[in-house]
Symmetry: C2
Subunit: 200 residues, 2 copies
């Protein structure tokens, strides 16, 4: 649809600005530190540089997985497909506090990366091993810049993703009713809501 150019704007509260960026493809940040394996979804993520290959994820600094990352200074990045929306949601609701392996606790399997020995997700379609390059405090979040040491993907990625085979998760927000739920979309016109297990 091409919009007419009448200025039918309404002001948006600045606290809702991040939602204008939706949908975004989330990644899962994975890390092992002091014998404990953690992982959390990061919606706010983007490539940052071609050479050296740098990527950025903005994380809430009070999260256990973030603290483990700052301790380990290496970490994994993983892409889960639409079929794993439920596991992604569970990772976003659970804290790594007190869990030996948060990833297996939500039904994901891990293996050790070759370069860093950091955990990567077996069910992922692609994953990266990264070394912490920089981190910047930006308001409420910490922007973690990672240098990519190695990258691997399934055959659905050649020079680009083959989107007839790769079906990414598109994060579209959460419902705001009494029953809180994650909203995920696909590039195939589908939409799914995954209720929070632990309602606040």
């Amino acid at each position: 649809m091409r919009l007419n150019t009448i200025r039918e704007w309404r002001d948006i509260e600045t606290s809702k600005v991040h939602r204008l960026f939706y949908p975004q493809v989330p990644v899962v940040v994975t890390v092992e530190f002091e014998g404990q394996i953690g992982g959390m979804p990061a919606i706010w993520c983007t490539p940052l540089s071609f050479d050296p290959p740098l990527i950025g994820v903005a994380l809430a600094p009070d999260h256990k997985t973030f603290k483990m990352l700052m301790g380990a200074r290496t970490f994994g990045i993983n892409w889960l497909e639409y079929g794993y929306a439920k596991e992604l949601a569970r990772l976003g609701e659970t804290s790594a506090n007190g869990l030996t392996n948060k990833l297996t606790s939500v039904g994901l399997k891990t293996f050790k990366g070759k370069k860093t020995t950091q955990p990567l997700i077996e069910q992922s379609s692609a994953n990266l091993e990264c070394r912490l390059n920089q981190n910047y405090r930006v308001g409420t979040h910490e922007l973690v810049v990672g240098e990519v040491l190695s990258a691997s993907a399934r055959s659905s990625f050649d020079k680009y993703w083959n989107f007839t085979r790769y079906n990414p998760i598109l994060y579209a927000g959460t419902t705001e009713n009494k029953k809180k739920a994650w909203i995920f979309m696909s590039i195939r016109g589908k939409k799914t809501k995954i209720p929070y297990t632990h309602t606040d």
Copy 2:
């Protein structure tokens, strides 16, 4: 589809890592500086903080629009829908060098933002006025962090986007054949290729 967990990984060249993040919803960065109006798509963009509301775009520092932004220190961010994929592609191919108004040169109309007087795109579905907060050199790109001074959107955004009405552009890369083209997808299962006008 749920993937089996056989480790059918292949190594990906680190120069192609950014493509693992696709699809991404691009924004258009708009700026007026010294009487000239520029605008460029930014694929590498993300929210960075809730409060203060900060957003980030990674820009190639040799681009004219980036230089104008660093001069002006305020700028606009605009979201164009799928129906404007062609205009977005043209903005990505053209340099602002020598153009009085790059946005009108590709068929877009502009109006002045209330807070910054920076140009915003009339055909956009949402837009922000930002003040440069920080900028960091990250490898090949410059990460521009903007503080959001005001935000506005059409009625397709209330607390969230209404995705039955809002049809964003999903950037999926470019073709690598002789005839270079942009690849855009939608959340409705559509895909379009827009050939480059100027072939290198």
